[in-house]
């Protein structure tokens, strides 16, 4: 249960080795005792993430989750949800290959879309059903500013996030009144492992900035979380910009 001040007792991280997900978990665990379920592929990164959270006093459980094997991943998640009541679930699995690699390798592009979008759809539907039955819950979906308007520099990644964004925005409306809330988080460029070596875009933020915004929105939020907040008016501008202008600005 979320308590009256919006603190969860259990937190599920799908894509548990994501730096943003890890920051969210660490921020919550620093405040209060927390049970964290890390759903990710078995790896040293997953063990390291678990160790960090254990060090913060959280109890940690790991579940195998491979976004490229959806039937299997769903089965493992389903059995987790049957035994552990999840208060907040963060859908954070994602990949950001170089755009040039994606353009040269359609198989890699499909795999990226599977991880970023298709798997998120499967997980979202599963979480929605379970949380609707338990009558409460918060789903946090990590979208991106790249979902707002495709740029030629990263439109493959952007299209996968646009799909995720549309799906969770619709899911939020569908769950309205069920006791389950959905937060669609749209961060700008995030300094992280995933973006290492890339040139930071304007409005760059850190995983901790995203975590702070999410943690602040969990108690009552049921909508879109822009990180930073200034991204919201700016993206309105970007969205309405005529094509020729948009291309010339070369965002």
């Amino acid at each position: 249960m979320l308590n009256s001040l919006g603190h969860p007792d259990t937190l599920l991280l799908v894509g548990g080795t994501s730096e943003i997900a890890a920051s969210i978990a660490a921020t919550m665990a620093r405040r209060r005792p927390l049970h964290v379920v890390l759903a990710a592929r078995p790896s040293s990164r997953r063990s390291a993430a678990a160790n960090v959270l254990t060090g913060l006093g959280a109890s940690v459980e790991v579940v195998d989750f491979d976004a490229t094997d959806i039937p299997r991943a769903l089965e493992d998640l389903r059995s987790l949800l049957a035994r552990t009541e999840i208060d907040v679930a963060v859908v954070a699995q994602g990949r950001l290959p170089r755009q040039s690699d994606l353009e040269n390798d359609p198989v890699l592009a499909v795999e990226t879309c599977t991880i970023n979008y298709t798997a998120a759809v499967a997980v979202g539907l599963l979480l929605a059903r379970q949380m609707r039955e338990q009558g409460h819950g918060v789903i946090v979906a990590l979208s991106s500013l790249a979902a707002i308007r495709p740029r030629r520099a990263n439109f493959v990644y952007g299209s996968s996030k646009a799909g995720l964004d549309a799906f969770y925005t619709g899911l939020r409306d569908q769950l309205r009144g069920s006791g389950v809330r959905v937060l669609v988080v749209r961060p700008g460029f995030v300094h992280s492992r995933m973006t290492r070596g890339l040139k930071p875009a304007p409005l760059a933020v850190t995983p901790q900035d995203v975590a702070d915004a999410v943690v602040a929105a969990v108690p009552t939020g049921n909508g879109t979380v822009w990180v930073p907040r200034a991204a919201r008016p700016l993206m309105l501008l970007v969205r309405t910009m005529p094509g020729p202008v948009f291309r010339r600005v070369g965002l």
């Binding site: 209060r32 009541e85 009558g135 409460h136 006791g179």
Partner: protein, 460 residues
């Protein structure tokens, strides 16, 4: 199961979706407990609690609204047998004109007798009268695992004491037999004493205790510095018939309940710091001017918040939380520390009420224990920003040998409960024997893992 609805706590700070049912008779209750559904059943009385003890997200909430009769009345012994869904105010409306009063009256008359027993409520006279359960002769308890039990302090006493303060998790209380106290009038002589700081309040309360049935202090939660904890100590004593003024001689046992309160939709948040500051200053000044004894009826004296207006609406959409804890005598510094810490965090208590507590009742989860209890109303948004301050206060309270009142709680860490209630394991064993498959639950049970069935063995 038919449709579900969103149920919100009285304090408006928590809500969840549940299916609502209103069993009408014992058979209906039995059927319900036999077919509880995957998320179990929560028994709900008036819904006047601050916590989620009467919420059951995704499950079934069964209200006792359909059960509010006075089943039997023995006017020689002063014993009344009532359905669990009868409200304290309605019970008073029946007994007061007959010259009897519940010896323990909680701060609101809106709660049901079943709910009051499940919380083992106390009044403003705990050192003299103890908690509600200490005036219960017997109760009829419907349990999922052991059928219908007749329980009381001298019959199935361990089940009885597990039920008193058991937050509705041991069974469904169908009926309760209560032993009332004789009153010769329904009027109280009330006095107010203004106190400049917390020490003054504590000394005044101690001084008033031996000679007054009811003693309670209102503290100005916004006072700081040397004035921290300043407040108004209110006392009340029952008048005897020969003390009545001429104007009341014709109606010595008059009783007027507060009437129904229509729930209002959450309005704009009117309760803001400058408003509270002005209101508290006015309250303090009024008490200073009003010298001498004032006569009040039972409702006005003991249920001052039962106005017909739904005051929780003024807290806005997120409502309020109440933080109520106890500390033993000698640990008064925790009371001051709480006021100081909350004001430093700019989480001003909008209402602060201090009472004395006497000896504890035998119930393993019963709240009162000798010393003091401070109840603080906090706007939810301010409390959210000060969440870690409240957690640190829990640590202070625990270290001082005190505890947080579970029926008011909405934010305690579950790991604190076994330490604050050291007999939790004993209670769990009794509870789990009465309800082995965990039919009875609540959001409070899940959040604090009271029953030990929700895997909440977190470390603090």
């Amino acid at each position: 199961m038919t449709g579900t609805s969103t149920i919100t706590t009285f304090a408006r700070s928590m809500s969840s979706r549940s299916a609502l049912v209103q069993p009408s008779d014992e058979e209906h209750w039995l059927r319900l407990l036999d077919h509880p559904g995957p998320r179990g059943v929560t028994v709900r009385g008036a819904g006047a609690g601050y916590s989620d003890a009467a919420l059951n997200s995704g499950g079934t909430i069964a209200t006792t609204h359909g059960n509010h009769r006075i089943r039997a009345w023995d006017d020689r012994a002063g014993v009344v047998d009532v359905d669990a869904g009868l409200s304290v105010a309605d019970l008073c409306a029946f007994t007061v004109p007959r010259g009897w009063l519940l010896p323990v009256v909680p701060g609101t008359g809106r709660v049901t007798i079943g709910g009051a027993l499940a919380a083992d409520v106390h009044g403003k006279n705990h050192p003299r009268r103890g908690s509600l359960a200490q005036h219960v002769v017997g109760a009829r308890l419907l349990t999922p695992g052991a059928g219908v039990l007749q329980i009381g302090p001298d019959r199935e006493s361990d089940v009885f004491w597990a039920t008193a303060g058991g937050l509705g998790l041991t069974g469904v209380v169908l009926a309760t037999q209560l032993r009332l106290a004789r009153i010769s009038t329904s009027w109280l002589a009330t006095e107010e004493h203004t106190c400049a700081d917390l020490d003054d309040v504590l000394a005044t309360m101690r001084a008033c205790e031996p000679s007054h049935e009811y003693v309670v202090a209102w503290l100005d939660g916004l006072a700081t510095g040397a004035a921290t904890g300043r407040g108004v100590v209110s006392t009340a004593v029952h008048l005897t018939a020969d003390e009545l003024p001429a104007s009341l001689i014709g109606r010595p046992l008059a009783f007027r309940s507060a009437g129904p309160s229509a729930p209002l939709p959450a309005g704009p948040r009117l309760i803001r710091t400058p408003v509270m500051r002005a209101a508290n200053a006015a309250r303090f000044a009024a008490a200073r001017r009003a010298r001498g004894v004032r006569l009040k009826g039972i409702t006005a004296a003991l249920h001052p918040l039962d106005a017909t207006l739904d005051w929780t609406a003024a807290y806005g959409r997120r409502g309020l939380i109440q933080y109520q804890f106890s500390v033993p005598d000698g640990q008064e510094q925790v009371l001051e520390a709480a006021l100081v810490a909350l004001s430093a965090a700019r989480c001003w208590p909008t209402l602060a009420v201090l009472k004395r507590l006497g000896d504890a009742a035998p119930g393993p989860l019963s709240f009162p224990s000798p010393g003091w209890t401070l109840a603080l109303d906090l706007p939810t948004a301010a409390a959210t920003a000060a969440a870690s301050v409240l957690d640190r206060l829990d640590d202070l309270v625990l270290a001082a040998g005190g505890r947080v009142y579970l029926v008011k709680d909405s934010r305690l860490r579950s790991c604190m409960v076994p330490a604050m209630y050291p007999r939790l394991d004993e209670w769990r064993r009794l509870r789990n024997a009465l309800d082995p498959s965990g039919v009875l639950t609540s959001d409070l049970d899940r959040r604090l893992d009271l029953s030990g069935r929700h895997g909440g063995d977190r470390q603090c």
